[in-house]
Point group: C2
Chain length 226, copies 2
């Protein structure tokens, strides 16, 4: 199986990437089509869809898996079968994400600008399909494993850091302040870890080193450094 | 990439298989887990989900694809980019289907009994994931390519054939009369083909040779032979 496209995103590393797509709808990514798919023909009509499925490889998790895993959603202390979870550590390392299609660019490269993606920069893409609401949006579906979106934490961004974030510009119109709020609000650290108020956490985001700490009431951003 | 499971289904050939999963919710299939996934551990907790994603290989369509395709939904005379369709003829031949999980069997084999599947018998499965409603059921999604389920045709099954269908029993409690109605109701022939009232169409279904013809008002089953 050969990748048909590569993801370019603000997420330089696995840590901090949204746990599900659409949890952070301010995220932006470009999916660059590779030969022989880098033709306007291959994406003709794609713009008729508001959402797409991206089937991709968890390339940073290749080869490592076990039959039972401890999903962070369940606090990291309860085990489930790997097929009963969305763990990236799975037999074929295949990931599945729905993203919002914002733009189909044909020049200078054939690329899809998407929102809400939970994809690490450099992710190899195996397939892209239109999201077909009548077939894919199963209203009666229920999952006791993950029945509701995680509760969002309040995120405090000091004024000087907010200004830096507002000044950020890229080709995809990323709203960096909102993205920071969404990413940290979903609490990137494992749920079973009790936050140590002394500890500074960090992630690579849009070329910055974003750092934060846990307070009594939520999360406080402490740095956004190049 | 190695298949983790194999599909056992009533669909002996590609022709007639539902165009999307859940269009024919009477269909039944068993997804048999293969080593090393054929352990109760790998599916522990899976029963907490009503629906699953099955990521599979279109093994009957391997290697054949072009950048533009003519989807049957559009009458077969309009071209779209392959990535803008769900055509089985695609670069990596990866298919994606949501199915209803009916039962997790651990003996004598580890297998998942599922409903609504659009999977040909023998389909190799690459991954199975829980359907997570808050992440996967995108209510605001729109697709101009396929905005509504196809209109169903009325299907007439003569009494003697109905009795044969009712008598059918398998390990998965397939309701064969209802399955026939659902499969033929979605009109398996290409939309651009004007039905010839003289012509008898056929498909392999649950070990039978099912044959039908087009009438003024819909579809009439003419045979269900072993």
């Amino acid at each position: 199986m050969t990748p048909i496209a590569t993801v370019h995103s603000c997420f330089g590393e696995k840590f901090g990437v949204p746990r599900q797509p659409l949890l952070a709808d301010a995220s932006r990514a470009a999916i660059e089509l590779l030969p022989p798919l880098n033709t306007p023909d291959a994406v003709a009509g794609l713009e008729q869809n508001t959402h797409l499925w991206v089937i991709f490889q968890f390339h940073q998790a290749a080869g490592e898996w076990s039959a039972k895993v401890r999903p962070p959603r369940l606090g990291g202390n309860k085990k489930l079968g790997v097929l009963a979870t969305r763990s990236p550590f799975r037999p074929n390392n295949i990931g599945l994400s729905v993203v919002r299609l914002l733009e189909v660019r044909l020049k200078p490269k054939v690329e899809l600008i998407v929102g809400g993606a939970d994809l690490v920069d450099g992710t190899p893409v195996l397939d892209i399909k239109p999201y077909i609401p009548y077939a894919d949006a199963v209203e009666e579906a229920q999952s006791a494993f993950a029945d509701a979106a995680p509760q969002m934490l309040p995120v405090f961004i000091p004024e000087d850091i907010m200004q830096k974030a507002h000044a950020f510009k890229d080709d995809w119109d990323t709203d960096l302040p909102r993205l920071i709020e969404q990413l940290l609000g979903q609490d990137p650290k494992p749920a079973y870890q009790k936050p140590d108020p002394q500890r500074i956490y960090g992630m690579q985001l849009c070329g910055f080193n974003l750092r934060w700490r846990y307070t009594e009431s939520g999360i406080e951003v402490v740095a956004l450094d190049p």
